[in-house]
Amino acid sequence: MLSLNELWFILVAILFIGFFFLEGFDFGVGMALRLLGHNDLERRLLINTIGPFWDANEVWLLTAGGATFAAFPNWYATMFSGFFIPLAVMLLALIGRGVAFEFRGKVSHSNWKNLWDWVIFFGSLLPPLLWGVAFSAILRGMPIDKSMNIHGSFTDYINVYTLIGGIAVTVLCLLHGLIFITLRTTGDVQTRARNFARKLIYFVGLFLVAFVVGTYLSTDIFARRGLLLTVIYAAVVIALVLAGLFMNKKRDGLAFTMTGIVIALAVGSLFIGLFPRVMISSISGANDLTIHNAASGPYSLKVMTIVSLTLLPFVLGYQIWSYYIFRKRVTEEHLEY
């Protein structure tokens, strides 16, 4: 029988997977704004593909943060204080990005729009990059002392392995976003997005393989769960190859499903590698944070379980419904932003 601590570890993992899957493509669209959009109309078109969704997608991150705080206060406290600067920069990026969607269309001056387009670009580039770096660093182990505090030096955060992790997540989000664009647009923009994605997928494959190799060399997770992880990474490779094949055949929906699977498996593998730890100490295994010493008490977990399992079906239901309402491709006639 699953213990509540295990259940909450899985729920936090699901929330992060949901965040990377959903916000992943709108980060990708945000980056594509500068890389793909040639003029203002095209950029508006791109923004409108994620218009009704991006805000709710971001709530997955907030909920993941809230759930971590509630279920594993020590995990939340150690991670958030330990990654103070990366998180501060990520917050700045998310703040800028969020208002930019709203602000950019309010004044029809090209400098104004250009400015906010760049804010959206960096606001969409930095969060996946920083989360990629942060999760790789967590997997590699951070200097956590006896009182659960991280006293990291620069190279604990930034090194070859974490940079590969950061770039892998970023290009994966961009690919996911480009395929989302092919799903939501028509004509020239769609064609260009597809062509771009077909080239980009090789980079994604390269960085994912590099990340797996790095993980093998820099972390202990293969030593712990080698077989399971090998199976997962094999599935990642297969899904990525299939995504490429589906794109060639212009089966965009299936290609999108495949990049979604890549994201879900890749993020899921990090949590599988961690389990039952939630933060790894590079100083001593005794200082590791686990789903037990980082968790809230049984009463709190029970309350949270009842509340979230009651609410989650409704939340998923209306979110899926909103995607159903806006299932039609975005055209120039219907631009709200």
Binding site: G51, A56, P73, F80, F84, G297, F326
Partner: protein, 467 residues
């Protein structure tokens, strides 16, 4: 500068900034939902235009409120990790529920509302904006449940060196929450109402879109007067609750060093000497303090020196007196702002009833700066609530100084504080600029008054202005 001071400054400034947008969002979306309801019920396009025009302003404001809110959830862990470890078991739950129950609802249905004008049926579109409105209130409920726990910790035991939840329903039933929540929601409605009333007054003075802005003004002033009076009543309840649960904060907000005695003089104004525990130049009203504290004219409100002695016995050596001047004056500024709002609301409602709004140009002129009153009220109200609780962060259990992250350097915190301040300054500037633009541009199209209408907000003589 040390990390504690930097963290305090960051928390205070980012939270106050966030709470400029929150009440305006809660208030505006509630009024917009009412307007759209009138559109669906009365089938008059002017109400649709109203929902759309005020919706533009709401969306700009909402965006800033949302993004500044992300920071709020993160900075507990970033700047106050010891606090997070201590309270997470209790405090985390309302935050997680807020995200799951409110944030998803707000963000999904605001998307449906913005993009759904042509795609959704009228009732479903209307339902969307009401769900956003309800979402903002649910959000307020849960974050205030968390805050109420800090003011008046209930439903928990100290175990394993931290606060652990043992009664979830006690958290929800917390008496503090049930005075704080209505006060905040009414204050938010008033914020939206005075904003719409003020902007409408400005346009009425300019004689632009008279029908449009008169209707907006009427709806706003109606909500304004109801919430204004409600605020005063709930505020009174809250003060009585405060005397029971946090007597020190009450005494500080009254500048009361010694017990007040049987007569219960209420100090209107005083020059406070925090060092020597003395006030000079006091103006006092007898018996009023007893009424404010207990709802009757007898009693004896305890002074700070007395409470300090009790707390030293109970919690050990230390200074348990909060910054008195700040608490004293923020309380007064809040009540004055609220009082003026009540008067303006009452007079405005009278003018609407007598159909004389357009002729009283001095009143319309007054309503423009009155936009700021609710903001002043809520900011000073929160300053009093939070500063008045010091030195505690969780009353009676953890002091603010013990909550700060021990492993974050002052340099990192300074970087965060400076960059957030810089970012927020830009946001504030852009927001004001965009607000002015949208207001100047006005509604999409001027609307024509329908003369034969049963609308209770109709019928004011439009030539009144020329008379």
């Amino acid at each position: 500068m040390d990390t504690l001071l930097l963290s305090r400054i960051q928390f205070a400034s980012t939270t106050l900034f966030h709470f400029i947008f929150v009440p305006l969002s809660i208030g505006l979306v509630f009024l917009i939902a009412i307007m759209e309801t009138m559109y669906v019920v009365k089938k008059k396009d002017v109400y649709k235009e109203m929902a759309k025009f005020w919706g533009h302003l709401f969306l700009i404001n909402f965006a800033v409120g949302v993004v500044t809110g992300i920071l709020q959830e993160f900075q507990f862990g970033m700047n106050w990790s010891n606090y997070s470890r201590f309270v997470g078991d209790v405090f985390g739950a309302p935050l997680a529920i807020e995200a799951l129950l409110a944030f998803f609802m707000e963000s999904t249905f605001i998307g449906l509302w913005i993009f759904g004008w042509d795609r959704l049926s009228k009732p479903i579109h209307l339902l969307s904006i009401w769900l956003v409105s309800i979402g903002t209130m649910i959000s307020a409920f849960w974050i205030l449940a968390a805050n109420s726990f800090m003011q008046h910790p209930v439903g928990m035991v100290i175990r394993n060196g931290r606060a652990e939840m043992n009664d979830f329903f006690a958290l929800i039933k917390n008496g503090q929450l049930w005075v704080e929540f209505p006060h905040t929601i009414l204050g938010s409605f008033a914020t939206g109402a005075f904003f719409i009333a003020g902007v409408s007054a400005f346009n009425l003075l300019k004689k632009r879109n008279l029908d449009f802005f008169k209707r907006s003004f009427n709806i706003a002033i109606t909500i304004g007067v109801i919430t204004g009076i409600g605020l005063a009543l709930v505020g009174h309840e809250q003060a009585q609750y405060l005397v029971k649960t946090q007597p020190m904060k009450m005494a500080a907000s009254e500048g009361l060093w010694q017990d007040a005695g049987e007569r219960g003089d209420w100090t209107v104004t005083a020059s406070i000497d925090e060092k020597n525990h003395k006030n000079t130049g006091e103006i006092k009203i007898p018996y009023l303090l007893n009424f404010l504290s207990y709802g009757k004219f007898t009693g004896n409100v305890k002074g700070m020196e007395n409470i300090q002695k009790q707390y030293v016995e109970k919690y050990g050596e230390g200074n348990y007196i909060p910054p008195v001047k700040t608490t004293f004056w923020s309380f007064r500024i809040m009540t004055i702002a609220g009082g003026i709002m009540c008067l303006l609301g009452l007079y405005g409602a009278y003018l609407v009833w007598r159909k004389k709004v357009l002729v009283k140009t001095w009143f319309l002129r007054l309503m423009i700066p009155a936009i700021f009153l609710p903001f002043i009220g809520s900011s000073t109200g929160w300053i009093m609530t939070e500063i008045g609780r010091q030195p505690w962060t969780v009353f009676g259990y953890m002091q603010t100084a013990d909550g700060v992250s021990p492993n974050v350097s002052a340099g990192s915190m300074l970087f965060a504080l400076l960059s957030f301040s810089f970012m927020y300054a830009i946001l504030a500037g852009v927001m004001v600029y965009l607000f002015v633009r949208v207001i100047k541009k006005g509604p999409a199209k001027p609307t024509v008054e329908e003369l034969n209408s049963n609308d209770p907000f109709d019928g004011e003589d439009f030539h009144a202005f020329a008379e």
